[in-house]
Each structure stands twice: as structure tokens, then as C-alpha cells.
Symmetry: C2
Subunit: 516 residues, 2 copies
């Protein structure tokens, strides 16, 4: 490792090989639910450009040193900047931070992985470019990293991975690939046409360990002419059933076209207060504490905001259709707000990055943290209600405060469950990880799998892909071995282990049994 | 080969190994621009189910027999049912023709490759399912095959490959894979969520030779409440410039959300007449012939129809916005027609399969045929106008009748150029293939590549992907070799040759030079 790091320094300069204790601590998982040392990096190396990435990857092959690329390393709740395998070297791409292109007319940008949501927002704002981003709840991270890890926002472009168009990738042996139309040198279509000619590859580089993405094309939404927001606070826990059916139907009819989120009451409280302000008893939150939170923050048990984006007259008709769809379903009433072009952008509430959601980490105090358990479900009221009941009961069984959000996508539903905990409270950490594990098993029994997970659970989630004796894993590993024969790139990411690690016993018992 | 075919018969029965001369002729490329014998199959074999597909693929490995899977083999203009390599055995999937699932509420279906557009249309109609397909111009083919080859239609779901969600694939050595959430046995999310966990693979099985797709999930559009069609016949050839900018802007603003096509005057004539009815002289069509065609069929030089789909009041506002966008741009006037739920479906003109476009093959008489040259371009007026001028001049230079259509997708433009010819006229065939080759070169100079091409040109189009000394080809072939070590599945498809064929000298000189 010492020799490898010296060789890395020959590429990037001593200054950009980060290997003292403070440096290494900076790459630990701040929200580790287990022992952070399980994912401690040996060092980090920060290249300045693609050529340096290629040189580092080649050296990593020479020295058989596992690299763990991160864009900005802000993947909180999923592992942050930390590698799956301790002793890996984090390949920190934060210095590749150029906004290479923004096309206002055709609605796309080409970014390096170090570009943050705030950087891109500022760029669009300062250059008066009429394109809007879709941002995740906590927007401190990388636009590229978020899209590759399939982050979500609340707009029509809220499925960020679905808006990727064209990648530049350093392959595990150092070769440079451009996907899709980028395969044609100088093509003007790289970030415009997703399919290319022959097999297309963008989606295979998401959540995978097949290459280091050094440039990413992303589609942006044209700034709308007007917005109409309809917020509805629903009073009852069981409202989550019928409301999913009503909203899905509105989406299928084209009245609503955004990624819709329906979030439980506690969300507002976690961003503006701590648990002890509501209840000292660690028992499940009592009805009066829940009611007080709802009054204080003016929220329902469930809350969602339909955002209609388009011509003001069209928005008005669609708003009427939304209200009609809810007529007679609830006593709750819509709160309507509007925005039109010319008004301050911040007031739109759309595509404006914020870090307010970070506050959630402070719910219990101490070294606060959270995990996200996020299975995919069919978008029906029946699935939502059963999932809610089952999951809430598990939260109570394990002494955790239920915090669920249901996202309605084009044809699917994501159920993001936040597990907030205090890393200084060992018993709470044990309860939290116990809860996480049982939630994986509960979901797997229904045939649900997670769309994204923390380092600690990548193997367990991959294990749930059991069709034909885990054919998906064998397929992933076969491609992995072909592209990365020395197994240097992100071993273990998404449960995909290169041959050398499999032979050394990494991965789960299920994985080993499934090998031919 | 004889032994292999006997082994195949052991799987599917003698009856489904098709090897006499008549059988073999049925799998020739009916529209071959070159010698059809260059793509003549040795035989065809037609399995009845997935298990038989697996058994055949395994036997093909044993006997090193190349298989060429086709869904229904109707890929006219791109090679039909014929294999790239003569002497291959066509794996005809037409008997796998079940509609396995249609979910009216969630808007998807799960299909086997033998299901045709007419089959699915009849199924939806007979069961009164309020979901509409997007159909290609000539809809005699397979829904699955069309989507995998990235066929296009005219609706909001007109990019058919973009609506694929979840595949079942027999891999080149016979193993069965389900992609995405299908990796979880019994998952209800297989055809609902595209990404899965870890790398996603659907797009890598499109236009590729990495596996035999035996089931495909496809999203269907909910039947609209109402439609407003606005047809505009534009009088001047050069109108193709500004009209692309106006329409793209309407699409970016969300006023129009369909895959829009703008087609030249000759389209209508090719479906309802033959060339000699307009002009005997083989020279370029004269102005009076062109004018007469336009009068006869009531079309402009360029023609498009905006189709607004949604609530009638919303359609009315959007229709006004469309008219406003064209105000002062042209003397031509919109022809408006409307459809509302309850009126006969056929009158909507949407998602109703037709084979009328087949008539185009008869333009010159004889054994009529066509080729499609289809580069991808940025969707701007400047690109459209330059592409039109350059391409039309080439058509005239090579004595062919210009027939171009520009499709506006989400962020790209496809320019489908039809080259109609008579296979019995050797000189015309030579001119046509000469034209095709020069069009590939012209496009490549601009950095454009084709989205799809005929068997004869797969290598030439793959050659245009030259970034980093053809890194895309090396990447494709590396994956190919890992998945298909014996090189039995569709060798040469999309210019991807398995190792054994590369070593035997298949592929172009460019391809050989690009190998490391």
C-alpha cells in the first residue's frame, strides 16, 4: 500500500494523496450504523482530471489496490464517502468540478462529478439560463453522484437516473469509454439521444462498479411559465391507502406529472426540533405529542403537495380536476399557492437546493444519524396501506419513531423509511440495525427489494434477488470479472464482488452457494 | 450442421425444424439491397416455450452453430428475418405468442416475442382495456421485436424502447435471467420499476446479441379522454428549418408531448400510387409532378400533425398555444379534428395498427423494396435544414426520389430517409446502395450516427463510433466474449462480433485495426 500511495503521488502530487489520520477520518461514514472502522479507507487520492483518473486506475491494477470512487462523498445514510471494503483507497473526484456545457435551448448539461447542486444552481442563476434542476431533499451532494445512485426529487424530472444521457467512463483497466452517441468522436448528440446504436450502457453504470464516471449528461427541465401548488394535510394514518389510488389515477391521466411524495407528520418536526421537545419517554410517540406536532407545524398525519407546472390556464383546469378527484374523500382542504415567471425563483420552491433536511440527524441528539430503508412497491392503495401498517408496527416493536414517505413515480412507488438514531447510544444503534434487518426480510417476503441501500446492507439486499438461484448476481459478476479482472474497482458495491474477493471469502453465504 | 439440426429436432420435434428450400426462402430478406444469399439461413427452428429456447441455445453451443433470434421476423428494410451471417440458424420465436399480463390500472403488459401489434390491439379491444399502444407506421411485426430494435410511433409513448420495463432473457449459454426487479422471484415490481438494484440491463439487450429476450414488460398509455389533432401542410421545402424550432419549443414547454413526425409530400403518394402514375422520366420528380401529388392527396411539401391528448378544455388551450406559435410564420392553415371518448376508437387514428405503409414497397414496381437511412441529429432548425439540403442533393445525384421524415423526440431528432427501389432493376439497386453508403459518410462527417440499420450496413455504422480508437466496439466485444464464449448468438449484430468470428476475419478492416 505504501508503494501504491507513492505511485499515486507521482500522478497527482503529494498534496492530493490524503493519508494522515485526520484525512482518513474525513472519509469515514459519519452516519455508520455499525463500526465505522468496517468501512475505513486506507487513504484517499484526488485527481485533477480524467488523465489522472486513468493513470490512478492503471496503477491500482499494478498494485492490486481497491479504489472506491466518490463524486463528492455526501451519500449520507448510504455510507457517505466510505468504501465497502476497509483499506480501500477512496478515489475522490471532487476536483473534477467543471460544468462543461449547459444548453438552454435543448435542455441539458454536461457535468463532472465534483459539481454540486449549489454549484449548478448558481451557474444557472448567474447566467440567467431558463432551465431548472430537480433537487433531492438534502442537496449538499454531487449532481452526478446523486443521479448515478438514483436519487429522487419532487418534479417531473424527479427520477434523476432516468434523465441521464451519455457518460464518459474510465473503465477498470484505465480505458476511456463514451456511451451512446458519445462513441462518435465530436458527436453533437451525446447528451441528446439515450439509445445510441447497439446495446446502451448508461443504466449499467448506475449503482455499479464497472467504471469511474468522469462526465455525465443530464437533462434539465425548461423553467415553467407558472406553478400552482396544492398542499393537502391528511388527518388519518390510514389515509395513505385511498390517497395513493387517487393520486396514481391523476398521474395516469396526465393531470399530475411530477414525482409525488406523501410524507408522514414527523418529517416537519425532524427538521425544526428534537424529540425531547415533544416527549421524554422513549416509548412510541403518544397521541397528544403527535397532535401537538401537527398543530405546531400545521401538517397532517400524511402530507403531499401536487405541483402543477405549465400555462396558468392549464394549471387552473388541472387544479380543478385534482380538487374534483378528492371531493368527498376527506374533510381536509387544499392550501393553494401560485407562482408565475417574474416572481422570485426562491418562492417557487422548485429546484432550489437546500440542506434543511440535514437537521433530521439531530432528532435524538448526540452524534445523530439516519439510515434509509427504501423498498419499491406497486403504486396501489392496498400495497401502500399494508406496507405502512406492517412497517409502522415494526418501528414500534423496535422502539423507533415511524417516518415514512411514499414516492409515486411513473409506474412504481418507493417507500423511503427513515431510521433516525444516536450513534452514541449503543442500545439504540442495535435496535435500529435490528429493525433494518427485519424490514429487509419483511419486504423480501412480499417480493419487494430496495432501490438503494447502505454499505452494510448491500449484500443482504443483493441476496433478495433470488430468481433462478440468484441469476442476477451471477450475471453481474460475470460482467464484472470481464471488465475488472484484477478486481480493483469498488469491490462489493451493490453486492457485486470481483473474482479475487469472492475467492477470498467476501460476500454472503447465499452468494457463495449460488455460484455454479 | 446436419447433426445439430437433428439435435434441435429432438427438442422441438421434426416439424419445427424448417430446413427445406421453401422454408429457407421464407427467412430470406425480402428487401435485400444486395445478394439475399449473403444473409441466407441454413434453417430455422421454432421453439414453443422458454425451456426449449434454453435447450436449443445449449445445443448451439455444443455444435458451435450460430443462432439468429427473431421475434416475428418482420423487420422490413433492416433485414427482415434474415441473419447477418449466412448459414446461421434462425431461432424463430413466433410460437412464443402469449400475452402474459395486461394491467389496466398500472398501465403495463408482459409479452412474449411472438405477439404482434394486431394481436395486442385485438386483446385490448376485446377485453375493453382502456390502454392504448403506440404503433409503428407498418404494424405487421412483433411488439417485442419492435421495441428491442427501438421502433418508433407517433404518441407520447412513441419511443418504444424507452417504455421497456423488465426482460426475461436466455443468455448465450442457456441460463435464464430476469432483469431489474424481476431478479426477485415473484416480484410484483418487475414491469413497474426500471432501475432495479445495482446496474440495470434492459437497454443493453436492445439491438444487441447478448441474449434471447423471451418476455418483455412494456408500458402502455392510458386511453385519453379526448384528442385534438392539428394537421398543417407546409408549402415550401425550406419550411423544414423554422418548423423544427417552433415545434421543439412547444415540446420543451410541455404544450406538445408526443413523438412528432414531419414528413415530406411523397409519403402519401407512396402508399396510394406508383411512381409511373406521376412521371415516366426516371429523372428527379419535376415541379409539376410534385405539385400534382400535393393537390391529389391534399398534402404540403412537409406535413405534420400535432396531437393533443388530455382533458378537452386543456386540449383547447394547448391548441390555441400551438396556433399562436405559428402565427405569422406561414400562409398554411391548420386542419383541426377532434375525438372524444365514446366515439369509435378507429377514428382517433391513434394506436390502431395498419399495414398501409407496406404499399411503399411498390413505388417502382417489380420486386419492390426499401431501405431506411436514419441518423440522429440535434433537434434544431439549422441541423434539420442542412441535413435536408445535403440529403436531398445526394438523392438527386444518385437518381432516387427524396422521402424524408423528421421525428422530434424528447431531446433528439431522427431523420428517417426512405430509399425505395426495385430489386429487379440492378442499376437502381446499385444506385441505391451507393446512395446509402455516401449518406453514412456524410452523416459521420457531422458526427451523426444511425439509430438502426440494415444487416448490410451494421459494420459500417459501427465503424463510425470512433471515439478513443473505437472504444465502444472494444467494450461491446469484451462483454460479448464474456457472455458468449462460443460466439453462437447473432454474430455481427450491430457490428458486434464474437472472438471466434473476429479471429476468422469477420468485421471490417477498421474493426480489426482498432483491436488492442
Amino acid at each position: 500500500m505504501g508503494r501504491a500511495l507513492r505511485a499515486f503521488a507521482g500522478v497527482v502530487g503529494e498534496r492530493w494523496v490524503l493519508q494522515d489520520e485526520t484525512d482518513r477520518d474525513a472519509y469515514l461514514d459519519l452516519y455508520a450504523p455499525g463500526d465505522a472502522a468496517l468501512h475505513a479507507a486506507a487513504a484517499a487520492v484526488a485527481p485533477a482530471n480524467v488523465e489522472e483518473v486513468q493513470a490512478l486506475v492503471r496503477l491500482a491494477n499494478d498494485y492490486r489496490v481497491p479504489l472506491w470512487p466518490v463524486s463528492r462523498g455526501k451519500n449520507l445514510g448510504y455510507g457517505g464517502a466510505a468504501p465497502r471494503v476497509p483499506g480501500s483507497v477512496v478515489l475522490d473526484l471532487g476536483r473534477l468540478n467543471r460544468i462543461l456545457e449547459v444548453d438552454p435551448e435543448l435542455g441539458y448539461c454536461l457535468l463532472e462529478p465534483g459539481v454540486g447542486f449549489f454549484d449548478l444552481y448558481r451557474h444557472l442563476d448567474e447566467h440567467d439560463i431558463p432551465l431548472w434542476m430537480s433537487v433531492p431533499g438534502n442537496a449538499w451532494g454531487s449532481v452526478v453522484g446523486n443521479a448515478l445512485d438514483r436519487g429522487i426529487g419532487h418534479t417531473a424530472f424527479g427520477d434523476h437516473a432516468a434523465r441521464i444521457c451519455g457518460l464518459e467512463v474510465v473503465l477498470p483497466e484505465g480505458e476511456l469509454l463514451r456511451t451512446g452517441m458519445g462513441g462518435v468522436a465530436g458527436s453533437p448528440n451525446w447528451n441528446l439521444f439515450k439509445h445510441g446504436f447497439g446495446p446502451s450502457w448508461d443504466a449499467a453504470f448506475a449503482q455499479s462498479n464497472f467504471g469511474v464516471v468522469t462526465k455525465l449528461g443530464l437533462w434539465l427541465a425548461p423553467a415553467p411559465q407558472a406553478l400552482t401548488n396544492l398542499r393537502l394535510p391528511l388527518p388519518n394514518p390510514e389515509d395513505i391507502g385511498w390517497v395513493v389510488d387517487v393520486l396514481r389515477d391523476l398521474k395516469m391521466r396526465g393531470v399530475v406529472n411530477q414525482m409525488l411524495s406523501i410524507s408522514s407528520y414527523i418529517g416537519a418536526a425532524t427538521m425544526r426540533s428534537q424529540r425531547h421537545e415533544w416527549q421524554d419517554d422513549p416509548a412510541p410517540l403518544a397521541a397528544d405529542a403527535i397532535a401537538k406536532m401537527q398543530r405546531t407545524f400545521d401538517v397532517g398525519w400524511w402530507n403531499f403537495t401536487v405541483q402543477l407546472s405549465g400555462h396558468p390556464e392549464v394549471n387552473a383546469i388541472h387544479a380543478r380536476l385534482v380538487r374534483e378527484a378528492f371531493a368527498g374523500r376527506t374533510e381536509a382542504t387544499f392550501r393553494e399557492t401560485r407562482w408565475e415567471r417574474g416572481q422570485p425563483r426562491e418562492k417557487s420552491g422548485v429546484g432550489v437546493p437546500s440542506v434543511l433536511a440535514l437537521q433530521m440527524g439531530n432528532w435524538h441528539g448526540g452524534r445523530g444519524a439516519h439510515l434509509g430503508f427504501s423498498p419499491v412497491l406497486p403504486p396501489t392503495g392496498r400495497h401502500a396501506l399494508e406496507q405502512f401498517r406492517r412497517t409502522r408496527a415494526r418501528y414500534e416493536e423496535y422502539g423507533s419513531d415511524y417516518f415514512g414517505t411514499f414516492y409515486l413515480g411513473d409506474r412504481h412507488m418507493l417507500n423511503v423509511n427513515m431510521l433516525m438514531f444516536d450513534r452514541d447510544d449503543a442500545a439504540m444503534v442495535r435496535r435500529t440495525t435490528g429493525l433494518f434487518e427485519v424490514l429487509i426480510r419483511d419486504a423480501a417476503e412480499k417480493g419487494y427489494a430496495e432501490y438503494r441501500t447502505h454499505l452494510d446492507y448491500m449484500d443482504a439486499v443483493a441476496d433478495t434477488f433470488d430468481f433462478n438461484q440468484h441469476a442476477a448476481r451471477r450475471f453481474n459478476e460475470r460482467v464484472k470479472d470481464a471488465l475488472d479482472p484484477n478486481g480493483i474497482l469498488s469491490p462489493g458495491k451493490s453486492g457485486i464482488w470481483p473474482r479475487r474477493f469472492r475467492e477470498a471469502g467476501f460476500g454472503t453465504a447465499v452468494a457463495r452457494k449460488a455460484q455454479p
